[in-house]
């Protein structure tokens, strides 16, 4: 490698296909800015929250689309609006609370006032002040409040989940996620009201795509997640499938846990211990639920912003919130369903110990992402390898493939034009 190639100035995809991914895809600031534009702000629906988080009129939740602060709010008609958290006047991020209930939005700087759809309603001293019989100051005669509302995003709601887009021309949500993924989406969000159990937040010092890839990578769970294997929740011979939408941007890893015990597949893995028992079996006190229709785990990536998790009884959304090319916040919203018994709620909470920043399983993922990023940063001219299962992109009926990662980068290259 010659010296001038050590830091690639131009992001050129110098690999034959997407089974090898250049490190610059994770380390370039310019690429990151373009990703925000092309993936988060145009042409895609991004996750913003659950309807159950804002049940009443005026309830709001502050969140982000990409790196732009937005507010999801319930209006008086029961509708849900998503508006950008930037005042139309001096551009201030006026909403400081993470959630709450309001009658209208007011920017404290100059008291500009917006209704729950983001329309500008009130501008103090718009008509100036009367002094000595004359009107002094105020906005120009042609000032039109309609032009100075908050930026209003497109909103899509399905099964109690809310997505938003800055792009007025974005395709309908159902087309965006496609029929293959829609079936799994509807399986999890089948119209029952959701019950929010709470949040976990972690800041992971790695490129945001690494989290998408983590949930498109069925190679690692049985190897990295020793806990999964030790207690028999993950086995290479579990019945499983990998599926994608037609663009290969979204994916689902679907698996069905078989019966436990020793066989060639598990004994291959050094961490399998047949005799290991939990001191408290409640961590894995799994109860089959009718809506599963078979699979015990379905992990979906809806590109680019969210992961939908069903791992036995633990269900959550995991929101990817980039901050720069080398870091993202990962916000988990755990939930249950309105008809859950108290025992089922308890079970979901108990199994949540496997997930999140302190999870028996998920803690591993945040750590490896951090150290992957460190590897990329020191060697930006190099590339990762994703050749397990070949170099093609196709759905599979097994877990021994990195096809979903190859698929995602095929789509990524197309949209990014690299």
């Amino acid at each position: 490698m010659s010296q001038e190639n050590l830091i690639p100035l131009l992001p050129v995809w110098d690999q034959p296909d997407t089974s090898r991914i250049p490190f610059w895809a994770y380390t370039s600031k310019d690429i990151h800015k373009q990703e925000l534009e092309k993936l988060f702000y145009k042409g895609h629906w991004c996750y913003v929250g659950l309807e159950a988080e804002i049940p009443e009129t005026g309830d709001f939740k502050r969140t982000v689309v990409g790196e732009r602060s937005v507010i999801m709010v319930r209006d008086a008609q029961g509708g849900i609006n998503v508006v950008e958290n930037v005042c139309g006047h001096r551009g201030m991020q006026f909403c400081r609370e993470k959630h709450g209930t309001v009658k209208s939005f007011v920017c404290p700087y100059h008291q500009w006032n917006y209704d729950l759809e983001g329309n500008l309603q009130g501008v103090p001293f718009r008509r100036g002040v009367k002094q000595d019989g004359a009107v002094k100051g105020g906005m120009p005669k042609d000032f039109n409040p309609k032009e100075h509302g908050l930026t209003q995003l497109q909103v899509a709601r399905r099964g109690g989940v809310v997505f938003a887009s800055f792009d007025a021309d974005v395709e309908p949500f159902e087309d965006f996620i496609g029929p293959e993924m829609l079936a799994y989406f509807d399986r999890m969000f089948n119209g029952r009201k959701l019950k929010v159990l709470g949040y976990n937040n972690q800041r992971i010092p790695g490129n945001w795509k690494l989290m998408m890839e983590n949930i498109k990578d069925p190679y690692h769970p049985g190897l990295l997640h020793t806990w999964f294997v030790t207690f028999g929740l993950w086995r290479a011979d579990n019945r499983s499938e990998l599926k994608m939408d037609r663009h290969h941007r979204h994916a689902a890893m679907i698996s069905t846990k078989g019966e436990g015990g020793k066989n060639a597949q598990t004994t291959n893995i050094s961490s399998f211990k047949e005799s290991m028992q939990l001191n408290d079996p409640r961590f894995l006190d799994v109860e089959m639920e009718p809506w599963w229709n078979g699979p015990t785990a379905v992990m979906m990536t809806l590109f680019p912003s969210v992961i939908l998790q069903q791992q036995v009884n633990s269900v959550s959304t995991r929101h990817i919130q980039p901050n720069g090319h080398g870091s993202f916040d990962f916000v988990w919203t755990h939930f249950g369903y309105e008809d859950d018994t108290p025992e089922m709620t308890e079970r979901r909470l108990c199994q949540a110990n496997l997930f999140g920043p302190a999870g028996f399983v998920s803690a591993d993922d945040g750590e490896v992402i951090e150290f992957s990023q460190q590897g990329f940063e020191q060697k930006p001219f190099h590339r990762t390898l994703a050749e397990l299962g070949g170099r093609d992109i196709e759905d599979t009926d097994h877990m021994v493939s990195e096809t979903l990662i190859r698929g995602m980068y095929k789509y990524w290259r197309k949209v990014m034009g690299v």
Binding site: G198, Y199, N201, L224, P357, G366, E367
Partner: protein, 156 residues
């Protein structure tokens, strides 16, 4: 104020800090009753009455399982903890049971040698007086910094 209990509890919390900072998990475990609960919960969830916690263990068996995870299964960057625990604030004393709080700050130092503020919050405690000394029946670590720096492995 009952000075004896105040001093006992102060000493107990300092012993707790010493145990977790030394990664002496057997000693940590001994400081709990058998039917204990131990939770590490963000202030966001706590203030909103949401039951979710980063870590929610509700028996000594679960504490043991957590230690097994920490020591045997979870992959993570090695790090050291340093706890600074304030004097306790006792809110009630009844037969054999003390309810108290204490502020804490936990600093994390990885092998690169840079110490950072890792977790800051307060303990909400129910402490049993037993023939063997004080034991934690319930400790909830309510932390202010909702955004965890990647992962939280060791008990707080």
């Amino acid at each position: 104020m009952n000075m004896e209990i105040y001093l006992q509890l102060t000493e107990f919390n300092q012993e707790y800090a010493a145990a977790v900072d030394a990664a002496d998990w057997d000693r940590w475990l001994e400081m709990f009753t058998d039917d204990c609960t131990y939770r590490v919960q963000s202030r966001e969830n706590f203030d909103r009455n949401l039951p979710m916690a980063a870590l929610s263990l509700s028996s000594k068996g679960m504490l043991k399982d957590r230690i097994y995870g920490i020591t045997e299964t979870i992959f993570h960057d090695p790090y050291r903890q340093n706890h600074v625990i304030s004097a306790p604030r006792i809110t009630s004393i009844s037969t054999g049971l003390i309810e108290a709080q204490a502020n804490y700050a936990v600093f994390r130092t990885k092998n690169d040698g840079i110490a950072e503020v890792f977790n800051v919050g307060r303990y909400l405690d129910r402490i049993r007086q037993t023939p063997d000394g004080l034991r934690i029946e319930s400790r909830t670590c309510v932390f202010d910094n909702d955004m965890i720096l990647n992962s939280l492995i060791y008990p707080i």
